[in-house]
């Protein structure tokens, strides 16, 4: 028993000074963002100001409700002095009626202010959210290369959420805290300056205590966060690697390592929690102390006739009320700061340069032949480092163009230019003789279909996914496309068939099957130009042989661009472009290039070269 009682006091002391040199990301973010919070506030205001009328009404209500909240205890004090202790001047019933009115009003005003604010806040958040979403669809593709998806997601969710919850309640609370604090002090001073001063003795004590605590908790929480983070990392690693741990029979070892980390968390967690747990106790203690001071000093003052009993009661209630706004202010301040930081992160995205607005004169094309010409096209992702250098070639309608070359040769960049994810630095690309920069992006893309390496499927039924490229396609058209892509038979074998719902992480169907659906999707779109960007690279050879058929049918009668690293898939192309370090080093059909004994022939034979090495 005695041992158990002493246990909590036996933790090794907190390591306060050992603050993390590089503060946690959240901290750094808060600091970094504090730089322009005025500007950010102005922009939040800009959003809010569309509801300016309603908002001023809410402000007015907040002021009224603060007044009413202050009036309540004052009236009770009056009741005690005038009616309970003294003879009472005006009719008692009338007074109580007045008090009832004050109370009812207080409730109604409080309710109104909150629900109106919620309406305003949610409308604002809705607008921010849709603005952000629309902006993401206007941003140039390079933006998504620079920013991690998780980060963007967090802006859309966490940051918007923190703005939302702050606007919902914290904004009002912050305002009313300030008003209440000021109002309380004024009324208290009016009633009894001496007692007010004595009540406020606790304020410096509170400041001192809070300083003592927060100086420690900051470092302690960082320490705890770091330990938690480390444990999370460890758990993630060992659970993801469970197969290896099992295969090597190393369970005991990781359990031991886990134990060490767990102990560290317990220690740092203990001190962080204990010391931060002092805060409410300090507040309570000081509340109690001010209560005692008011009762004691107020009592003596009342005996001397300096104040009335009612004043004591008013003070007792006010003293309880003014520590609350102080506490609220401290709490709300952090929420407010994180909301401002959140809003700033949202605005950062909104401020990103959009895809150059299509020229006013840009055309919308109805039908396309599919003749593509690259004329001396150069392109650089960064200034001065050309990824593509003076590429020129022609593709007649219906031709199949294969693009090969080592990693980093610029194959994908070429496609990015064709789809206008990027624009050329020099030179022109024409479609049916027209510079593609004079064609509206959406119009241009509507004549192309892509099958990309990571055949991305959307959550929804298989049918919806195939129909993605052509919304008005009938069910039989969808099935027709699936048959052409060799996907029909496996779809029919799935439970649910075409109505089988695919989940975001794609469980249930294999990578190869996803690829087939992506091909069916492209077939249904029936484009003039088809782009296969390593469409079969993640598929094993055996499956690839099986889907070759589908691809061949897909390419018939369309201008097709095929990027592949397995050379066997491209032997039948009308023309093969061989890229190396951004330059087009060779082009021509398979046989012709083989005859040249150049890079293509090297690459082609390289794939079989090693075989003799293995044999020997």
């Amino acid at each position: 028993m005695w041992e158990a009682l002493r246990e909590p006091f036996r933790y090794p002391g907190p390591r306060v000074k050992d603050a993390d040199p590089d503060a946690s990301p959240a901290d750094r973010r808060a600091k970094a963002k504090a730089k322009d919070w005025q500007g950010t506030l102005r922009r939040i205001w800009h959003y809010l100001s569309r509801r300016r009328g309603r908002l001023s009404l809410v402000m007015l209500l907040v002021i009224v409700s603060c007044g009413l909240t202050l009036l309540g205890p004052y009236l009770i004090g009056m009741a005690i002095d005038d009616y309970l202790e003294g003879p009472g001047g005006r009719p008692w019933l009338l007074f109580l009626l007045g008090l009832t009115c004050v109370y009812v009003l207080q409730s109604i005003v409080g309710w109104l202010q909150n629900i109106w604010m919620i309406q305003i806040a949610q409308e604002t958040v809705l607008r921010m959210r849709t603005d952000l979403f629309a902006q993401l669809h206007r941003l140039p593709i390079p933006f998504f290369g620079r920013n991690r998806q998780g980060d963007l997601m967090s802006r859309m969710t966490n940051d918007i959420d923190s703005v939302s919850s702050t606007l919902n309640s914290s904004a009002i609370q912050l305002l009313s805290s300030v008003l209440m604090l000021a109002g309380t002090v004024v009324v208290m001073l009016l009633l009894s300056p001496l007692l007010t001063l004595l009540t406020f003795v606790v304020v410096p004590l509170m400041a001192l205590g809070m300083r003592w605590i927060t100086r420690r908790t900051g470092a302690l929480f960082r320490e705890r966060q770091r330990n938690l983070g480390e444990l999370n990392g460890f758990v993630e690693e060992t659970l993801s690697g469970q197969r290896i741990i099992k295969a090597f029979s190393q369970e005991e070892r990781v359990i031991q390592a886990f134990h060490e980390r767990n102990v560290r968390i317990k220690h740092s967690g203990f001190w962080a929690q204990t010391i931060s747990g002092f805060i409410p106790k300090l507040m309570n203690g000081l509340n109690n102390l001010s209560f005692a001071i008011i009762a004691c000093v107020g009592g003596i003052l009342a005996i001397r006739g300096a104040i009335t009993v009612g004043v004591i009661i008013v003070f007792v209630e006010y003293a309880r009320q003014f520590t609350r706004p102080l506490n609220d202010l401290a709490n709300q301040w952090n929420t407010l700061l994180s909301a401002i930081a959140g809003a700033e992160r949202v605005f950062e995205v909104l401020d990103e340069q959009e895809e150059d607005a299509d020229e006013r004169a840009a055309l919308t094309l109805d039908a396309v032949q599919g003749a593509v010409v690259f004329h001396k096209v150069s392109f650089a992702y960064e200034e001065g480092r050309n990824t593509l250098k003076e590429i020129s070639f022609k593709a007649k309608p219906g031709e199949t163009i294969a693009i090969i070359g080592p990693t980093g040769a610029g194959k994908t960049s070429l496609i990015q230019l064709l789809s206008r994810f990027y624009d050329t630095s020099e030179g022109t690309i024409t479609l049916d003789g027209r510079d593609i920069r004079t064609i509206r992006r959406e119009s241009l893309r509507s004549h192309m279909a892509f099958v990309l390496q990571d055949s991305f499927l959307f959550e929804g039924t298989i049918r919806d996914n195939i129909r993605y490229g052509k919304l008005d396609a009938t069910d039989s058209q969808v099935e027709e496309a699936a048959k052409l892509a060799n996907a029909h038979s496996f779809i029919m074998r799935l439970s649910g068939g075409y109505d089988r719902v695919l989940i975001a992480d794609g469980s249930g169907i294999s990578q190869g099957q996803r690829q087939l659906i992506a091909i069916a999707r492209a077939i249904l779109k029936d484009p003039a130009i088809l782009v296969l960007d390593e469409a079969t690279s993640s598929i094993d050879t055996v499956s690839e042989i099986k889907i070759q058929e589908g691809l061949k049918r897909l390419m018939e009668g369309r201008t097709s661009f095929v990027i592949a690293h397995r050379l066997n898939t491209i032997r039948e192309a009308d023309r093969i472009l061989v890229l190396k370090e951004g330059c087009l080093v060779e082009q021509g059909p398979h046989e012709e290039l083989l005859g040249k004994q150049g890079l293509y022939s090297d690459l082609y034979h390289g794939q079989s070269e090693h075989r003799s090495a293995v044999k020997q």
Partner: protein, 579 residues
């Protein structure tokens, strides 16, 4: 929930003390209004300064006592909750590590991680809060009522009337609100999913020109989210004003009756004041009620998730044997082996028969989903075959001790799994107490030694978040080194050379030849099958062909197609002339 709370039992003394300390604090707070009524009635009214000083002094002393109790409760509650969380984490992790592999796979890894981290932290916070604040609410309410009744029975009774009405109301609101908030959460999840999808599929959306449709879908969902958020919040916003209204009505009633009683001489002003004060405290406590219920329901969800993992039957579907005799030679035999994953209807492997002599190299070829990896998992006994017999050195694997078996196997998985730490740690991970020589030896065999030597810190280079990023091929070679350091009798390579270039792969295979271990090699590349002693060709779970390269090339159509696709038709003739 109760299952989880069992873990608190060990800390019942600390937890009990925390509660006792909270009671001390409460006692001090609850006595305050009573004492002030005494000061008014016996001090101020009688103009007796000593009474005021005496009770005032007691109030000051009481607040100091309450403060100390509060500080102590922080220590006790913290110890109880941290110890509790520590034990739950420990138990949960040990449990998870003890799961047989099929049981482990029943849970998504991410969900197990959440259970071990967020859920436990959530529970710990709730225990801490529970010991310090949640008990407070009902105690303040009950204590206030009792004290009010003690001060003045009839007036106190008015306060007693309001509380049940308020409780009923608050509970009703909470119930309605939880339904509404659930809907909000659902809408939010849907919205986030759409967002996630849009970000991942951004290119695709652009090339399929679906911006407007996606924006429309998003706008509709956002609108719905706003609608449900507003209606949920509107409901909960009624709570506070309503509580205030009822409590204030109570206060007015107390004033009204108090006035009557005083004029009849049945009550004093001090008593009325005290009861008013108790009413205010009750209102304050009740307003925290919704917060507490919300915290509790979150904690209950966490407790259920943790409990689900803790109470999972880890009764192993894979039953290890005890045989640890002798040295493993590396002979493997499959006799009519079939396998299907638990909770699945389709057989992944059907009637597989083959035999491997110690020291042979076996290449396994087949399409995705043809059962190659499953076959390896059976050798590893991560899963158990559903029919047939697997023999190692002629002994049924079911009889072998798991650790004994694993000691003889070096396994390299398809996806590279390295751990944070240095390169040396990672290689030595395969063999406890490995010496530096052994680590380097393994690295040389895995063709990674020279690459490591070129790194700034060589074998002490850190991997993972804090360290450097190796290329896919380098990581693969590291994990091969980790397997080789065990000098295994059986080496399992699950497509683990896919990211190696041709020369390195050839050198690696050459080095493996020098080791006297049986090698099972899953591969896509014909180049690695050519030198194998035995090639297994799997298709949809069946072993459709087996034999040497030359045999298969001559006899099997599919094998020849694969070969042609990788080497071209001219290659067939070429190799044909070699064999």
């Amino acid at each position: 929930m109760t299952n989880i709370l069992r873990f608190l039992g060990k800390y019942r003394i600390a937890a009990g003390m925390a509660v006792v300390m909270v009671l001390v604090e409460l006692a001090v707070e609850l006595i305050q209004p009573y004492l002030i009524s005494v000061i008014i009635d016996e001090g101020i009214s009688q103009k007796d300064t000593s009474v005021v000083l005496l009770w005032g002094g007691i109030l000051v002393g009481g607040s100091v006592a309450a403060f100390i109790a509060g500080i102590l409760s922080s220590f006790f509650a913290s110890h109880a909750s941290q110890g509790f969380a520590f034990d739950v984490r420990e138990a949960l992790y040990t449990k998870v590590q003890g799961f047989a592999y099929p049981v482990f796979n029943r849970f998504a890894t991410s969900s197990l991680i959440t259970r071990l981290t967020n859920d436990v932290t959530q529970l710990q916070d709730t225990v801490f809060m529970g010991l310090r604040f949640m008990l407070r609410m009902p105690l303040v309410v009950i204590g206030s009522i009792i004290m009010a009744l003690v001060v003045h029975v009839q007036l106190g009774f008015l306060l007693t009337l309001t509380v049940p009405a308020l409780l009923v109301f608050v509970i009703w609101i909470m119930k309605r609100a939880s339904v509404l908030f659930k809907r909000v959460q659902m809408k939010l999840d849907t919205l986030n999913r759409v967002m996630q999808e849009n970000l991942s599929g951004m290119r695709l959306i652009r090339v399929f020109v679906r911006r407007k449709e996606e924006a429309g879908r998003f706008a509709r969902l956002s609108q719905e989210l706003m609608g449900s958020t507003v209606s949920a919040l509107r409901l909960t916003e009624i709570t506070m004003p309503f509580i205030l209204l009822i409590m204030n009505a109570g206060i007015i009633a107390v004033l009204w009756f108090g006035h009557k009683q005083i004029s009849m001489g049945k009550a004093t002003a001090g008593e009325v004041v005290a009861i008013v004060n108790y009413s205010l405290r009750t209102a304050g406590a009740l307003s925290a009620f919704s917060m507490i219920v919300a915290a509790f329901s979150r904690a209950r969800a966490s407790a259920q998730r943790v409990d689900e993992a803790l109470s999972t039957d880890s009764e192993a579907p894979v039953r290890p044997g005890r045989n640890t005799e002798g040295q493993c030679e590396g002979g493997i035999e499959f006799e009519n082996v079939s396998f299907q994953y638990p909770h699945s209807e389709t057989r992944v492997l059907v009637d597989i028969c083959f035999k491997v002599r110690p020291g042979d190299t076996v290449a396994i070829l087949g399409a995705t989903g043809s059962g190659k990896s499953s076959l390896m998992q059976l050798v590893l006994r991560l899963y158990e075959e559903t029919a047939g017999i697997i023999r190692i050195d002629g002994r049924n694997v079911r009889e072998l001790d798991m650790a004994y078996l694993h000691r003889s196997i070096g396994y390299v998985s398809q996806e590279v799994l390295l751990f944070s730490g240095t390169i040396r740690d990672n290689i030595a991970w395969g063999l406890e107490d490995a010496s530096m020589e052994q680590v380097m030896e393994a690295a040389r065999l895995a063709q990674i030694h020279e690459t490591i030597e070129k790194l700034p810190d060589q074998y002490d280079t850190l991997l993972g978040q804090k360290g450097i990023n190796l290329s896919g091929g380098q990581k693969q070679r590291l994990s091969i080194a980790r397997a080789l350091i065990r000098k295994p009798a059986i080496l399992l390579l699950d497509d683990s050379t896919s990211a190696l270039d041709v020369q390195t792969e050839a050198a690696l295979l050459q080095a493996l030849k020098g080791m006297s271990c049986t090698t099972l090699l899953i591969t896509q590349k014909i180049s690695s099958t050519i030198g194998a002693d035995l090639i297994l060709l799997l298709d949809e779970g069946s072993l459709i062909a087996q034999g040497s390269h030359g045999q298969l090339l001559a006899s099997d159509y599919l094998y020849r197609r694969i070969y042609e696709s990788q080497f071209g038709k001219e290659g067939v003739a070429h190799v044909g002339s070699f064999t």
